[in-house]
């Protein structure tokens, strides 16, 4: 049996019958498929909001995925759950490689929403998330601003990851416009605080005039900050980074980190799950049979935007 020739291209006129149900049952299960399932940022934002939503709605929320950042394993998990026909899938859009399995779920008639990063080749019913390119651009602009348009900067994150690479690109595209800004390079901290610290320490030695470091994974910020603190370079080396976990906020308060760009991750999963629910229960119908008519009764794409934090507003975020 040969695979279909078209990989699919966001074609919503696919006439798969979506499984819909009139009554809400307590056994109705919404499944989140993610990877690096224990990453604190995921646990405390995505998963917490998803669970809260399920509790409120009186349905079941399951969160599945491998403990490491492992896309094939995320796909494997996904594939093993599809035959069980849950009420809906909330998929962490980790990598374009998951497109096919998303299509499998869609073809199985299960409402499927992708969150965080969009997956271009997939036919998911909806995407809700932010734009990593935009987050990189925001960091770049802030960096330029606090450095007055000149100085040596580097970026740090996990090399090769789609969203990070998009972020790096956003950052770079801004920096390129300022000839006095010198971009030194991208460094791989493997989402590891010790490595981020070590690389930063080595960078400070190699470039005594290093002006700024931009971080792109959750552990970049604390690692960079540690070495900047230990080298007595607070204020001399500016730090911008992603995420707004407690330790990030604390470091902004201490003045070590200058700028944070956070995602509205709770929105991803809370609204995403609600869309799944609405689709399953035909909360809004545009025709007698939306699936047959080729109508997906939920938004195609929601961009949630970012949260920007610096010293001026950090106190409002600390719980």
């Amino acid at each position: 049996e040969a695979p279909p020739r078209t990989g699919g291209s966001g074609n919503n006129l696919h006439s798969t019958e979506i499984i819909t149900v009139d009554t809400v049952s307590a056994n109705e299960e919404y499944v989140m498929i993610t990877t690096a399932i224990n990453m604190p940022m995921y646990v405390n934002h995505d998963q917490a909001a998803f669970k809260m939503w399920a509790k409120k709605m009186g349905v079941k929320a399951s969160i599945l995925g491998p403990s490491e950042w492992d896309i094939p394993a995320q796909i494997a998990t996904f594939e093993q759950v599809i035959p069980q026909k849950p009420a809906g899938f909330l998929v962490n859009g980790t990598d374009p490689g998951i497109a096919q399995v998303i299509n499998k779920a869609v073809d199985a008639g299960i409402p499927t929403v992708v969150y965080d990063s969009d997956i271009p080749g997939a036919r998911q019913h909806s995407f809700i998330g932010s734009d990593w390119y935009e987050m990189g651009r925001l960091q770049g602009e802030r960096m330029v601003k606090i450095l007055n348009g000149k100085g040596k900067v580097v970026v740090m994150g996990i090399l090769g990851m789609t969203n990070m690479e998009a972020g790096f690109q956003g950052f770079l595209d801004v920096i390129k416009k300022y000839p006095a800004m010198e971009f030194i390079g991208k460094y791989d901290d493997k989402a590891n605080v010790e490595l981020a610290a070590k690389i930063t320490a080595d960078l400070i030695v190699a470039h005594p005039d290093l002006a700024g470091v931009a971080g792109f994974d959750g552990n970049s910020g604390p690692g960079i900050a540690l070495s900047v603190k230990e080298a007595n370079k607070i204020g001399k080396v500016k730090i911008t980074t992603v995420d707004a976990e407690p330790e990030h906020l604390q470091l902004v308060k201490e003045g070590v980190i200058d700028y944070l760009v956070g995602q509205k991750r709770e929105l991803f999963t809370q609204m995403g799950a609600q869309m799944l629910f609405d689709m399953r229960h035909k909360t809004i119908a545009f025709s007698k049979n939306d699936a047959k008519a080729g109508v997906v009764p939920i938004p195609k794409k929601i961009i949630t935007g970012s949260i920007e934090i610096d010293k001026s507003n950090v106190d409002l975020f600390i719980k």
């Binding site: 399951s62 950042w69 492992d70 094939p72 093993q80 035959p83 090769g160 690479e165």
Partner: protein, 308 residues
């Protein structure tokens, strides 16, 4: 003793399956579920066969995970950026993987670099290379390429067939072919093997070449199955595969193990993974429970064997 591990592991797997079938009668013992489990362990198993070969001869290879990424990356790179025909791309990717294995083997046997250091260093080098090749991922392969890993034969997806073919072929080879049989000699007493006229160094070099090739095949299948080459694929695969192979009866000291043990070890891990998904164990508990199951599986086996 060696035989025993194959037997006890098969028994454990069977037992697990029976229990799960009672607990989840409509979800676990279905063709769909099993073909999913098989599909997901096929890549690991193909690499595990090569790892078993190496561990029988007393060494192991940490670079396999990177080779998996590299092979798919190279094929994807050639097809996507240079419009190379898919067959040529595959040949190139497999040759590349084989070459990496050869370099590993050459440096280990001829220069005498510690195998762990060599393959660990190679793991980094090859990961770097595949990062360069596939960057943030390559997609949109030719249909024929995707066909290789996505076609279904008798309603089982092709990687499953490749896996069975490789396991069967290597099982046969290790039972009947003098060349492969010699790995047992090398693993149990390298010096004596040398004195018995076995070309230990050449054989070991071949071992690394074979594992490189198998990892390359796994990489092609993975990328073709996913329809994408990811620079992060195969991360952590080396430890998973070594675990499977040890579970399946190999020992770090060498000289023991059977090819089918590699499959059984991977199958055990795959079924446990499936169980964790079916029972919806998630988050923190996943790692904890997986660890405990591993310890229990091996521990009980040990206790039984000791009693004997």
């Amino acid at each position: 003793m060696i035989k025993d591990r194959v037997v006890t592991l098969s028994a454990t797997i069977l037992l697990l399956c029976i229990v799960m079938s009672f607990l989840f009668p409509s979800q676990f013992p279905t063709v769909d579920n099993f073909s999913q489990i098989m599909l997901n362990l096929s890549i690991d198993t193909i690499v595990a066969v090569g790892m078993m070969l190496l561990m029988i001869s007393g060494v192991f290879d940490l670079s396999v995970g990177s080779i998996v990424a590299f092979s798919g990356g190279l094929a994807g790179y050639l097809m996507y950026y240079h419009d190379v025909n898919f067959l040529v791309a595959i040949v190139a990717a497999l040759s590349g993987s084989l070459l990496i294995g050869f370099i590993n083997g050459f440096l280990i046997t001829k220069i005498g670099i510690n195998p762990m250091i060599q393959t660990l260093a190679m793991m980094g080098v090859v990961r770097g290379l595949s990062l360069m090749l596939s960057g943030a991922g390559i997609q949109n392969f030719p249909y024929e390429y995707n066909y290789i890993g996505q076609v279904k034969i008798l309603s089982l997806q092709s990687p499953i067939w490749y896996m069975f073919a490789i396991v069967l072929i290597f099982s046969y080879l290790f039972k009947n072919i003098a060349f492969f049989r010699r790995y047992y000699f090398i693993g149990s007493n390298e010096k004596a093997a040398h004195l018995s006229g076995i070309e230990v160094e050449k054989m070991k070099l071949w071992g690394f070449v074979i594992v490189g090739l198998l990892a390359g095949i796994a990489g092609i299948l993975l990328s073709s199955r996913l329809g994408a080459a990811l620079s992060t694929s195969g991360k952590g695969l080396e430890l998973r595969v070594i675990t499977a192979v040890i579970l399946g009866g190999a020992s770090l000291a060498g000289g023991q193990g059977k090819i089918v043990g590699a499959f059984l070890g991977a199958a055990f891990m795959g079924i446990v993974g499936n169980i964790l998904i079916l029972t919806r164990v998630s988050g923190y508990w996943q790692e904890i429970i997986l660890g405990i199951i591993l310890i229990l599986a091996v521990g009980i086996d040990q206790l039984i064997q000791k009693k004997k």
